[in-house]
């Protein structure tokens, strides 16, 4: 009995009992669909986060106040020692650095005539645009002069501009923040939100003006406090050198003897952290889905065992008229494998549709990974084989005399 024949025979048997066959496949279908959907979602999340991090700007280092410990423990007071003067010093003294942008942000009510909006108020310097890879849509960005003079000028994010100004052209208009008035000099091009920071819905001020006119009481004894400093290095290769040089400089400036009061994160370290998290997430999702695939396999074994019991007479007859043990073994194995591969294919289809639905509903570009499909279908075939062996052996070992006599 050759393979194609066994195949036809198995298909005939399986289609003769459609309800049972489809119920048996259900476990594998669900298992497979979830593996593919879960892995797709995991990879989508990974891609999403990577894209987000890429938009931070190329070759960027972030200097944040506080060391790893104070940041991780939370609740502890983060030292307010990182100041604008540090940013200036980095700019002046670290040769591998091409741009430095300190940032301090708060949320405030922004008022234009009779309209108002709650938005982030970000203080920074003129280099912000290049360091963080933003572009202008209209007008100009902050200038060095604005910073030196503490000019009361502001640049708007695209979303905030729409919310506040509707039809009026914003450039040249004045907005009020905590009673101080600022002239709009430019509007930035839309970039999208980024790790929870949405510069599209923000107003950008010179950090000097922000400190003197708005923050005032939050002045640190060391100078103008910043939330973090973004630094762009010359090139990707010089990033670690820049990191080293900045560390040394800041240690010197902050008189550090034992523990740093700042912490440098590169895009790479962020990518690594995110990669580890989303990787673990993907593995976890895949493991959960894998368990359902396993349960599906056990379902197949279960049904095949019932099927062997129920078809005892058929097996007896086949053996009586000339089926060898291998023939019977092959027959039941092929049935199990067909069930699981068919289930695998249907499950894959479902998984892909699930991914497509998720992609349209969430910002995740959930990818249909060919690898995941290959693995899922391969694994389900393997599951059919693995869980099919035991029932098939039971069938093959049946004594035809006993089997034929079974009523």
């Amino acid at each position: 009995m050759d393979f194609t024949e066994s195949l036809q025979m198995a298909v005939k048997t399986l289609t003769a009992n459609k309800l049972r066959s489809s119920l048996t496949m259900l476990g594998i279908i669900i298992g497979n669909a979830s593996v593919i959907a879960m892995v797709g979602i995991g990879e989508g999340a990974q891609k999403y986060i990577n894209e987000q991090l890429q938009t931070l700007g190329p070759n960027v280092l972030f200097i944040v106040p506080g060391n790893r410990q104070t940041r991780e423990l939370g609740g502890l007071e983060i030292p307010r020692t990182l100041v604008v003067a540090d940013a200036d010093a980095i700019q002046a003294q670290v040769p591998t650095v091409v741009g430095v942008a300190p940032e301090f942000s708060s949320r405030d009510l922004i008022v234009f005539r009779n309209r108002s909006a709650n938005a982030s108020v970000v203080g920074t310097n003129e280099q912000f645009l290049t360091v963080r890879s933003f572009e202008m849509a209209q007008g100009r960005f902050l200038s060095k002069l604005d910073l030196d003079r503490h000019s009361q000028v502001a640049v708007l994010g695209a979303t905030l501009a729409e919310r506040l100004f509707d039809q009026t052209p914003p450039i040249g208009q004045s907005i009020r923040i905590r009673g101080a008035s600022f002239e709009i000099v430019g509007i930035m091009a839309r970039k999208g939100s980024n790790l929870g920071l949405d510069y599209d819905d923000a107003v950008i001020l010179p950090i000097t003006t922000q400190a003197s006119r708005l923050v005032g009481q939050r002045q640190s004894p060391y100078g103008i406090e910043v939330a973090f400093i973004s630094v762009s290095a010359e090139s990707r290769e010089s990033m670690s050198r820049a990191e080293f040089q900045i560390t040394n400089l800041l240690r010197l400036r902050h008189n550090i003897r034992d523990e740093d009061d700042f912490f440098i994160q590169s895009q790479d370290t962020l990518l690594n952290i995110a990669g580890t998290i989303t990787g673990a997430l993907t593995v976890m999702l895949a493991a959960i889905a894998g368990i359902s695939l396993l349960v599906g396999g056990i379902g197949i074994m279960n049904i095949m065992l019932v099927s062997v019991r129920e078809r005892t007479q058929e097996i007896g007859l086949r053996k009586a008229i000339g089926a060898s043990q291998q023939d019977i073994l092959a027959q039941f194995l092929i049935e199990a494998i067909i069930l699981s591969i068919a289930g695998g294919i249907v499950g894959t289809g479902l998984g892909i549709s699930g991914i497509l639905v998720i992609s349209t509903l969430t910002p995740f570009e959930a990818g249909v990974s060919m690898g995941a499909i290959a693995i899922a279908v391969g694994v389900s075939g393997g599951i059919g084989l693995f869980f099919g062996v035991f029932p098939a052996r039971q069938a093959a070992k049946l004594d035809p005399i006993v089997a034929l006599r079974t009523a």
Partner: protein, 238 residues
Amino acid sequence: MTPLIQFQQVSKVYGMGNTEVHALWQVDLTISRGEYCAIMGPSGSGKSTAMNVIGCLDRPTSGSYYFDGENVAALDDTALTHIRNRKIGFVFQQFHLLPQLTALENVMLPMVYAGVPAAERRDRATRALQQVGLGDRIVNKPTQLSGGQQQRVAIARAIVNCPLLILADEPTGALDSHTTQEVLTIFEELHQSGITVVMVTHEPEVAKHTQRIVWFRDGQVIEPHLNPKDIGALTAPA
């Protein structure tokens, strides 16, 4: 010419130690080629066990069984399967047709296991079905056939590999008297064509159509050559 079936001191023992059951005890039996004979006997007489041994479904515990000149006791499962497939055609009381297959596919089944090319299979199966008078029912599933028709499909399946022996276990047990007659007619035709037919039955009416009756009791052949005409003697066996 060697006899087709030859038992030499064949015993079949089930169980071990104190629970040993001698289903067959030192049976000597010879059935020649071309014979048409019935195996009879009360329940528990060993006739079913004898049939299993004759059909190469089971091996004797001791003694030798020669089928077509081969000592079956010395063969492995694969060789027995081969003999059953090529040389023996089985007919059962409950027909044992596969419900998911058509009549034609059921008849083709032994050829599938024999490795007969697909085109030839269809041809031979069709002819076998015509031979039993079911040439017009080849696409029907067993459930669409009457009991007599199902048994005829089973006979077609038994003869399709051109066996030396047709071994029938109570072939008319599930049939009414009319279809019993049809089936017996087919057996008679097969016998006429030279095939050896051995049938286990407990119905004297059926056994009467054979040439010879082998009478079993308590695991032994007590009457190896009973003439079917003396069927009346069976009601009061020695």
